[in-house]
Symmetry: C3
Subunit: 364 residues, 3 copies
Amino acid sequence: MNRTAMRASQKDFENAMNQVKLLKKDPGNEVKLKLYSLYKQATEGPCNMPKPGVFDLINKAKWDAWNALGSLPKETARQNYVDLVSSLSSSLESSSQVEPGTDRKSTGYETLMVTSEDGITKIMLNRPTKKNALNVEMYHEIMHALKAASKDDSAITVLTGNGDYYSSGNDLTNFTDIPPGGVEEKAKNGAILLREFVGCFIDFPKPLIAVVNGPAVGISVTLLGLFDAVYASDRATFHTPFSHLGQSPEGCSSYTFPKIMSPAKATEMLVFGKKLTAGEACAQGLVTEVFPDSTFQKEVWTRLKAFAKLPPNAMRISKEIIRNREKEKLHAVNAEECSVLQGRWLSDECMNAVVNFLSRKSKL
Amino acid sequence: MNRTAMRASQKDFENAMNQVKLLKKDPGNEVKLKLYSLYKQATEGPCNMPKPGVFDLINKAKWDAWNALGSLPKETARQNYVDLVSSLSSSLESSSQVEPGTDRKSTGYETLMVTSEDGITKIMLNRPTKKNALNVEMYHEIMHALKAASKDDSAITVLTGNGDYYSSGNDLTNFTDIPPGGVEEKAKNGAILLREFVGCFIDFPKPLIAVVNGPAVGISVTLLGLFDAVYASDRATFHTPFSHLGQSPEGCSSYTFPKIMSPAKATEMLVFGKKLTAGEACAQGLVTEVFPDSTFQKEVWTRLKAFAKLPPNAMRISKEIIRNREKEKLHAVNAEECSVLQGRWLSDECMNAVVNFLSRKSKL
Amino acid sequence: MNRTAMRASQKDFENAMNQVKLLKKDPGNEVKLKLYSLYKQATEGPCNMPKPGVFDLINKAKWDAWNALGSLPKETARQNYVDLVSSLSSSLESSSQVEPGTDRKSTGYETLMVTSEDGITKIMLNRPTKKNALNVEMYHEIMHALKAASKDDSAITVLTGNGDYYSSGNDLTNFTDIPPGGVEEKAKNGAILLREFVGCFIDFPKPLIAVVNGPAVGISVTLLGLFDAVYASDRATFHTPFSHLGQSPEGCSSYTFPKIMSPAKATEMLVFGKKLTAGEACAQGLVTEVFPDSTFQKEVWTRLKAFAKLPPNAMRISKEIIRNREKEKLHAVNAEECSVLQGRWLSDECMNAVVNFLSRKSKL
């Protein structure tokens, strides 16, 4: 384009005006005001309109923008107009290379299906035959998908499960794959991975919504305390049998659950392993709303599509002001929980419980 | 009176004794003990009673007070008695100038009705034709009324609305009254006013109760997190459409709401703009109790009058011990919210949303 | 035993092997692995087994333990085996002196019944004719019983009441027993005792469960915010009439209650003295679950016995990770509440209220 030219010709200016009409995406009011003011300055010179009345907000904004250009020469204004349009076109082109239409499909994920449309990025756990148990690969892919979603142009992000389960939690066969460094190294690596994984949920910058389509266990339950909204089918259950497995709470649940549902209710879940129905989880504040399974997907997605149409910056900033205040604390809790859990994984109580679980499972 | 006399005569003393009988208001046990001890010292000299038994609390208190005067000369005791009564009478007189009987009416308020009786100061939003929307004047008058209520002799303070609405929130025509400094100055002044306004609710020293007679919107909802009790008619609804207006939460709600109702429920209100019924708001802990509209005023005021008869210092101190721990945090949250909102008010999202709202409204 | 011998004989070794079979208590997997590895090293020398596969967790653990002994001489391994068994036997003997069987009965308590069986230590308030009001002796005995329970081998600890009441709270006759130093000293001593008492609940290291068999008043209610679970009969009520008595909240309730049940609900209880039913207390999160009185004891103890069978270290550590984060804050709150209450006890409002209460009571 004409970025390097020192003076744009009248032809360049007209081309730029035509390009503006072809922009597929609204460049936003700030840019539009800038274009308006440069156009006026280039064609009429310094602002010559009477200042609009105080109630006339739109004309006041246009007047302000034009008037702010002062005595900028017409030629410079023309040049700036052409440059601005040029930068808009190229930035919109390059972003469309990343996003080929509305039905962008996930590629390269083994354990997830990731799609983005209607302003919503949907991350679906996709190991239905394993009840969407989280193996090491799925931990890594979820982190990758969250990082991508935080930068794409969706307004909200959704996590859900494919099949009957939301997720059966940490895949216990993770425990049997012992590296050369032995169980100590296994435990250490597990703690590092878990901490990084939970950290991605703490830091996620947009509204993050769980669509809990069925039973949820362990880490898939505790993480819900870090979501901004949780919609559940009445088929969903919420189960954190940490003590039964000789383990201790993670996902910041030792902090978020007592805050969400009072210590007396949180202890029953996290320490005594009580399984909650969707209705109970909703009454405790862990779930935002429960829907009958027959209409669950329809009702939830109708609602989510309406949310995704709200001003995205307002939503992002509103989440930020709520979350930022807690971020430092949440990261400290996460680090502490992972460190305690690392010790637990090496304890007799945990080893015995996992062995018993796996032998029961292999017999069935 | 005799305040300047160095020695009170027997006549002064007798006058003072008569004045005590005429006091319309109980001066409290501490003062009464003081009067008792000075009277005894003035008429009988140093304490000559045997010390009462440990179970005889009242006589023990009287004995302690008298005995504490030691060898104070009779004349000094008489003088002190006269001075004490004199100060009581004048303080009660001057306070009665402020409070002419039980039906003290607000004077000087344009947007409020303020009354004080039965130990309750009632601040009623009084722009029923505007659904009690808060314009700039009402912000200032509420602050003034709260400051007066914090110093008057009422035990509790109540905020309520006149007419069908509790309050429709911030009057959006506030946005159209642009000062000479332009929208930046407008936004800055708005943030300063809002911060000072919310600060008055954070610092209010007595039990503060909302009587929510009808729909509540925006700032009138978020402030409820700073009240000590919230009673609602079943006609009331609770709506905070901040994102819809390109704005972000205020009134400390980004901190109080997630604490009160769990983050998953708070986000649905504050970020996605869900409107709650009175029953829902009560289940979430935002409202203390809901009453049928037909009996609402009767039931609530019966209860409030009973509360107002409880020992006022105990109530004030109990509120203090709960609130003081949070005060510093709440002021920091308030400052942060106002600063973020100042930025929001200048954003395209907000300007477009407000313009759309006002044009829709002007068409209807 | 053979602790001082430098070389254990084959006879010592065989004796030790027999002793292991007689151990009444499982020494835990860690010790058993150690015994296994020393036995193998003593009888076969350095590890000569092929390394087991990654899925064969138990054999892998045994192999690791044996292999870790490297080239330790057979004699040293034999000696270490004998020493280890010797230390086990003596530690298990000494612990069995502390705990004579499952039906250990409380001895030396005047106001409590303390028993320990099925992994549960049960502390029962035992002044049924006084509605289990807490007199000074009971405060001291509860502290003693909690300290003993924190060190015994039970998995969980339960507090409950004998008779119709859970507890009617602080015994108001405590107020009438004035020491020679007068009411100031009385108030000071009361604040010191209360602070120490509440501190024991803050620091209790195992799951602590309240079995609320009937009405609960005052301190017996506020302390519930420090329990890990609260089960209540539907006969139970929850009443904190602090303002009515001119007093202010204790037991950390000024901090825990607003967190548990939202400020608007907490104020109604703590400042306005509203009495809650068991169902209301459960809806507010103060109570974990309510049971019909007819089946209360049966259902609750069935559940508690199941909890007591869960891995005790996992439960203790899970409680720890939840509680430790709050401990410093809770101790500060406790100190502040006791200091405020010390002032309240000396106030007219409190003295008058207590005198009125006791005179009404003496008339009835």
